[in-house]
């Protein structure tokens, strides 16, 4: 009971756990839905959080799996427990049956004992013998039964009872044995043959019983075995779905893992091939494929659950069938046994009658004895409602018989033998009609006393029965019929009583030997009822007993009408009459209850499958969505990139297109301004031109930006002079600087090579941008551009770092409150902007590389801290007010940055609001050879050799400014000394002036503000003072005095002249300007300077020139030729590149060539390339002396200017032209101004040479 309680508790616990599991799964599923339906904002949740969640989920699943395993094993335990219960029930039932049987036998024994005691008065060895034999037999039978049961050796609480019973029995048996031993001899002579038959009978019957017991035992053991096998089968049945479940789980795990790995692989794949655009249908088909697999999985899962349900149900049904078969068989057997027992008793009664009635003379039995005996032994035949004995009377004996008994043989009115109504009176029956023989009842039990004297042969049923019984010698049964009194169905058992005690072989002999008949009526319903009441679970099954002798129309003997058609089991019942067949039908009273175990298990599996598949589905959906998003994003990215490129291209194109007409506008404005305009008109025109120029600048910048962004900007690599470039830049800003009064100065370290190879245009652009900004934002002070080598700076940087970390501020001049800078204003320490430069940290190995460091220092407004970060972003200015105040677009710096990047350099700056900014950048060039001759000069090269060997004195209070001046002088080849204060200056001048002085001074340059405002201007006064004091002889040649000034009013110029200055030079200092000034002052090469800058009419430039025009288009050729002819040129035409090359084979007479770019067969670029190739070969030969210049028309260096003609501005960019060796390009159709500007460049120098 205890174990039962525990098991029940466990079962309940498991159910609760199952519920919990369901809830957890539901939660998980809902989570899946939630997460799948959640929008992008939730995607952004932290990764770690999700990972944690994932782990929790994994744990949950693991727990669930373990729990389900436990659950299933528990379920199995439950099942086995239930089975055990059932088995125990079965055993108990069997035990009860055995007990019953035993009790029955005991009763029989007791009955016999009683008979023995009752017949003590009529002592008879026979009886004793027979009884003893019988008792012994029973005893033996029982013991054998016991043995059988004991040998089973099984549990069952009843065992001890049995053993005890056994003991009792054995105690009983010896007594009987003694009885037998007491009178064996007396009995033997008298009962010579009778006992044998009886014994035989008894033995056979007991043997039968024995056998039956054994059989039963066997059955039981078989049942046990079958139970065992059932158990095994059930275990197997359980193991299969469990295994399948495991496989499913494993499969899911593998699927999931593989899936995730696949995804990982895929994603990594995608990462590696990011640029490769994966076609989206691929992933979609993948998604479909996955979904199909999922669907398949779901179907499989559902099928599995259905299969589990079906198999479990089948199992339950099979078990049910087996149960009912067992129960039915058992019942049938018991019924049979009981019936047989009763039959044996009737048989015994028959023998009793034969023994005591027929063999005794006079008969020991009369009606009274019979009635009493039968009444008292009725308990032995619990199923018989009554017994009666009829005598065989032949017709010849009827008279005698009737007389002997004193009554007439009566005819049976009805065919029943059952006790009838009270008023039933046998006297009223008719006497039997005349027949061959009669079977009048002579003895009867009290219950059926009314049939005494009734002729049994007169009833049809009874007659058949009697005839059959006497011919077979065995008990025969009638077909069932209604017993009158109880209104129950009954059968009548008839035994024939023979007068011979030897075995009778043939039926004829048997009929002859028949002397009487013993009949007993059996009440079948009550028999079965009784039987069933003894057994357990009689409520659960319905039992029907049928007489199936006539198989087509079975007669129902017991049980309710067969109503339901549920499964029924049929067991044959043998009542000992071979003629009659009986069957027992068993079925369950109730329809089988729904197989809850199967339903819950299969539903559970289905639910789990569905939930898991839902989770998978949600995951798949999510993956698909993410993939879709990913593809969308990528597409958008590609489109955005394409749009960006398109934008850049558009800008580039449009800029070009705008630039062309804008040039026209500007040109026209220029022309307009050349005409006679009044002041207002002039002002308008100038404003318009300034605006136009600004616009052009902007457009150029935008174009550059666009070009850089679209990656189309390429740097050229041409030899150039960086000093020239800087002079050029200065010339651009000199006007502005002068107007503003800002000092603008350039210093290039002498370590910087003269010729560098790189892109001078772009370098100039960067510097222009920076200086432009500085000029824009500087109101007073200076802008100082310095160029150094990075290596040079690195050295001093290290020194500077080491020496003056604390004195990083530029030391103040103690004399005045200004700083030691160009203009005396405070500046930002430029070192700070260099600190982060890569070039300063690592050294470059390339020996040919020249790393320039350009610094632009100003004393402007500075850049606010907050704007410093976005200063290099396009279209970003320090703040929006900047553009209002200073104009500009803010694109310059970003372009500069890009360009610096292209030059493999870095750009940086340091700035403080109110003090100024310092921009620095590095750029890498390669050192060029000085004598290449192809140096692209921005200005015509002044003859520096004019000033070679001269000496100069620079008088300036500020060393930096003095250094700048010295640098420029050095470029001119002038040796310069610096005098910082007036005293040293004076002594130096005086020393130079002294005749003994070895150090002759050619010129003295004095800064206007050498020691403060106007001090420079006053310096010659000091000199005059000194002169007047007489130290210097006035006739001696004095050095020319030059005044250097940023701004100089007309009155000041006059002043300077009067004071003694030869000339004044306006800063910013430029080589060309200084040279011109010196020439003028010193009287050398003055003509040259005058020519320069003065516009020469195109006509004069071109007059008499031999010009070759190359164009495939006749019309174009004609027009070009016409235009050039108009300006006095002598034009020759060629219509293709090959002709041109042939014509330009040196020596030739041409001064210039105009080449169309786009020509069939050989375009202008290719033609020019070939021309240059030929030229360089010849030049080489002349140089090496292989050929003399005379061979080539006395020209030592062949280089024909080739100008490209093109209608397409975009296609024929300047760079492209230059790359092919062209000198310049003119747009088609010709415009006077452009043509002039292009041609002038080449012919000007020649003009100068020719002395014009």
């Amino acid at each position: 009971m205890k174990s039962l309680g525990i098991a029940g508790l466990l079962c309940r616990l498991r159910q609760a756990f199952l519920k919990l599991l369901r809830w957890v799964l539901l939660r998980m599923a809902r989570n899946g839905i939630l997460s799948s339906s959640s929008d992008g904002s939730r995607v952004a949740q932290c990764d770690g959080c999700r990972r944690w969640k994932g782990r929790l989920m994994l744990l949950c699943i693991l727990g669930g799996v373990l729990a389900s395993i436990w659950l299933f094993s528990g379920f199995r335990e439950c099942q086995s427990w239930v089975r055990k219960e059932k088995v125990r029930d079965l055993w108990e039932e069997r035990a009860q049956v055995l007990l019953e049987q035993f009790n029955l036998s005991k009763d029989q024994l007791q009955a016999l004992g009683w008979l023995l005691s009752s017949s003590e008065r009529v002592p008879s060895a026979c009886i004793e013998t027979s009884v003893s034999v019988r008792g012994r037999e029973i005893c033996g039978g029982l013991s054998s039964v016991l043995k059988a049961i004991c040998s089973e050796g099984n549990q069952s609480g009843g065992e001890q009872d049995w053993v005890r019973n056994n003991a009792v029995l054995q105690g009983h048996c010896p007594v009987q044995d003694k009885c037998i031993q007491l009178k064996p001899i007396d009995a033997s002579p008298q009962n010579k043959y009778m006992p044998d038959t009886i014994q035989q009978d008894i033995r056979s019957s007991s043997m039968k019983k024995d056998l039956m017991h054994v059989k039963e035992c066997e059955n039981m053991s078989q049942a046990g075995k079958s139970v065992n096998s059932l158990k095994k089968y059930q275990e197997q049945v359980w193991e299969i779905p469990l295994g399948i479940l495991w496989w499913i789980l494993l499969g899911m795990f593998v699927f999931f893992k593989g899936f995730s790995i696949g995804r990982l692989w895929k994603s990594s794949n995608q990462q590696t091939h990011q640029t490769k655009h994966l076609p989206p249908p691929n992933s979609k088909s993948g998604g479909k494929w996955r979904k199909k697999i999922l669907l398949l999985g779901v179907l499989l899962g559902i099928l599995v659950s259905i299969w589990i349900f079906l198999s479990m149900k089948a199992d339950i049904i099979a078990r049910r069938k087996e149960t009912i078969a067992n129960m039915c068989d058992e019942r049938a057997r018991m019924l049979q046994d009981q019936f047989n027992v009763s039959m044996n008793h009737v048989h015994a009664l028959a023998i009793l009658v034969s023994t005591f009635h027929h063999m005794k003379n006079p008969s020991a039995i009369d009606q009274k004895t019979f009635a009493e005996y039968t009444a008292r032994t009725a308990f032995e035949r619990p199923l018989t409602s009554g017994v009666a004995y009829a005598l065989k009377v032949l017709h010849s004996q009827r008279e005698q018989f009737e007389q002997q008994h004193g009554w007439k043989i009566k005819k049976m009115e009805t065919e029943d033998h059952s006790p009838v109504q009270d008023d039933y009176n046998s006297e009223m029956l008719d006497p039997s009609p005349v027949q061959d023989e009669y079977a009048p009842v002579i003895f009867s039990q009290e219950t059926v006393s009314h049939i005494v004297s009734v002729d049994m042969m007169s009833g049809k049923e009874d007659r058949d029965n009697i005839l059959r019984a006497r011919s077979t010698g065995k008990g025969v049964l009638t077909s069932p019929f209604n017993l009158l009194k109880s209104n129950h169905l009954g059968v009548v058992l008839t035994f024939a009583v023979y007068n011979s005690d030897f075995p009778i072989a043939t039926p004829e002999e048997r009929i002859e030997a028949t002397i009487g008949y013993l009949g007993a009526s059996f009440d079948v319903p009550s028999l079965v009822e009784k039987l069933l009441q003894q057994l357990a679970s009689k409520q659960t099954i319905v039992v029907n007993v049928y007489d199936t002798t006539n198989s087509s129309a079975p007669i129902r003997m017991y049980g309710p009408e067969a109503t339901n058609s549920s499964y029924l089991h049929i067991s044959n019942v043998d009542f000992g009459d071979p003629m009659r067949k009986h069957e027992m039908h068993c079925r369950f009273k109730h329809e089988p209850s729904l197989p809850w175990a199967a339903i819950t298990t299969s539903l559970g599996v289905a639910v789990i499958v569905l939930l898991v598949s839902h989770i998978f589905y949600a995951a798949l959906n999510r993956i698909e969505k993410v993939e879709d998003d990913y593809h969308k994003m990528r597409e958008l990215k590609v489109r955005a990139e394409a749009a960006d490129v398109a934008k850049s291209q558009f800008l580039a194109t449009v800029s070009h297109e705008i630039r062309t007409p804008m040039n026209g506008v500007l040109g026209m404005l220029q022309m307009l301004m050349d005409t006679e305009l009044d002041a207002t008109q002039q002002d308008f025109a100038m404003t318009a031109q300034a605006s136009g120029k600004a616009l052009i600048t902007l457009i150029n910048e935008v174009l550059d930006q666009a070009k850089i962004e679209s990656g189309r900007l390429e740097l050229e690599a041409v030899p150039f002079d960086v000093r020239d470039v800087l002079d050029n830049v200065l010339s651009l800003f000199s006007d502005k600087a002068q107007v503003k009064g800002i000092e603008l100065a350039v210093y290039v370290s002498d370590q910087v090579p003269d010729v560098l190879v790189g892109d001078p245009g772009r370098l100039r652009q960067i510097i222009t941008n920076l200086v432009g900004n500085s000029v824009k934002f500087t109101e007073e002070g200076h802008i100082y551009i310095s160029v150094h080598l990075v290596e040079e700076m690195k050295r001093s940087f290290n020194i500077n770092n080491r020496v003056s970390n604390e004195t990083s501020e530029v030391p103040k001049n103690s004399a005045d409150t200004s700083y030691n800078t160009l203009s005396g204003f405070q500046v930002i320490d430029r070192w700070k902007s260099l600190e982060n430069f890569r070039m300063f940290k690592s050294s470059t190995e390339d020996s040919n590389a020249v790393n320039l460091l350009v610094t632009v220092e100003d004393t402007g407004v500075g850049i606010p801290e907050d704007a410093q970060r976005r200063i290099f972003t396009p279209f970003m200015q320090a703040d929006s007010s900047t553009s209002r105040k200073y104009g500009g677009t803010g694109i310059g710096l970003s372009i500069s940055k890009c360009l610096v990047d292209l030059m493999r350099g870095e750009i940086g700056f340091v700035s403080r609001s109110g003090i100024g900014s310092t921009f620095s950048f590095t750029a890498t060039f390669t050192a060029g050879r000085k004598n290449t001759g192809d140096i692209k000069r921005c200005h015509s090269d002044p003859q520096v050799s004019d000033f070679q060997g001269m000496r100069a004195l620079i008088i300036d209070g500020r060393s930096i400014r003095a250094e700048v001046t010295k640098y420029h002088l050095q470029r001119l080849g002038v040796q310069a000394d610096i005098a910082i204060n007036p005293e040293t200056a004076l002594t130096a001048i005086l020393e130079a002036c002294s005749p003994s002085g070895t150090r002759k001074l050619d010129m003295v340059l004095v800064d206007k503000e050498a020691w403060g405002e106007g001090s420079g201007l006053a310096f010659p006064c000091l000199l005059v003072d000194v002169r007047q004091s007489g130290t210097i002889k006035p006739h001696q040649s004095n050095p020319k005095m030059f005044l250097l000034a940023t701004s100089l009013g007309p009155s000041e110029v006059d002043d300077s002249k009067s004071v003694g200055y030869t000339d004044s030079i306006r800063k910013p200092l430029r080589l060309s300007m200084m040279a011109a000034c010196f020439r003028k002052a010193l009287g050398i090469g003055s003509t040259r300077q005058q020519v320069k800058g003065q516009p020469v009419a195109l006509r004069t430039l071109l007059r008499g020139r031999q010009i070759l025009v190359v164009d495939d288009n006749a019309v174009n050729r004609k027009v070009a030729a016409g235009a050039l002819k108009k300006f006095g040129a002598i034009v020759t035409c060629a219509d293709c590149g090959k002709d041109a090359i042939a014509m330009l084979q040196p020596p030739h007479k041409f001064d210039a060539c105009f080449m169309d770019v786009q020509m069939p067969e050989m375009d202008g670029f290719e033609a020019t390339r070939q021309i240059r190739c030929i030229e360089s070969k010849i030049n080489e030969r002349i140089k090496t002396g292989d050929a003399t210049a005379e061979m080539y028309g006395h020209v030592a260096h062949w280089h024909i200017p080739v100008l490209a003609m093109t209608a397409d501005v975009i296609q024929a960019t300047h760079e492209e032209c230059l790359r092919c060796g062209m000198d310049d390009y003119v747009s088609k159709p010709f415009e006077e101004e452009k043509l002039y500007s292009a041609v002038a460049h080449f012919f000007e120098s020649d003009m100068a040479d020719s002395g014009l």
């Binding site: 288009n1113 016409g1122 235009a1123 159709p1229």
Partner: protein, 149 residues
């Protein structure tokens, strides 16, 4: 008086041509190139242009009639036509050529044929005007000669 009328007529014609966009300033440049030293320069150039263009247009028509169009050749011809028309200042023809270029860059044959028709149309228009112009000029010259005589 007739001379004046003729000159007036010529002026009107030229002005209309400028106004219609048939000619641009390049033609003026061309006219400026013509001076005493080269009296028939404009006429020479224009005649050259007309002959050349006519040849190119026939070539183009042939090319576009073919099953497989050689767009490279088309490109060369159109480029030439564009160049010459730009040189004489035949603005509309030039623009039509630019349009044409778009189509053959797309390899759009139908568009090319349409564009060719446009070019032809423009060309013939401008040629007619030029013819008129030359006739007027010739008559003026004839008068000049008569007067001088």
């Amino acid at each position: 008086m007739a001379l004046l009328a003729l000159k007036e007529q010529l002026n009107v014609l030229l002005n209309s041509m400028f106004a219609e966009g048939l000619l641009d300033q390049q033609f003026q440049q061309l006219q400026m190139l013509q001076d005493g030293s080269s009296p028939g320069f404009v006429a020479e150039v224009i005649t050259l242009f007309c002959e050349d263009s006519e040849r190119i247009l026939t070539e183009l028509s042939k090319l576009l009639e073919q099953q497989v169009v050689d767009y490279q050749k088309v490109d060369a011809y159109v480029h030439q036509l564009k160049g010459s028309s730009a040189s004489v200042g035949a603005q509309n023809v030039k623009l039509a050529c630019a349009q044409f270029r778009q189509f053959y860059e797309e390899n759009n044959k139908e568009g090319c044929i349409r564009a060719l028709n446009v070019v032809k149309h423009e060309f013939y228009r401008v040629r007619n005007k030029f013819d008129n112009m030359f006739q007027l000029e010739q008559r003026i010259q004839a008068y000049d000669a008569k007067q001088q005589n």
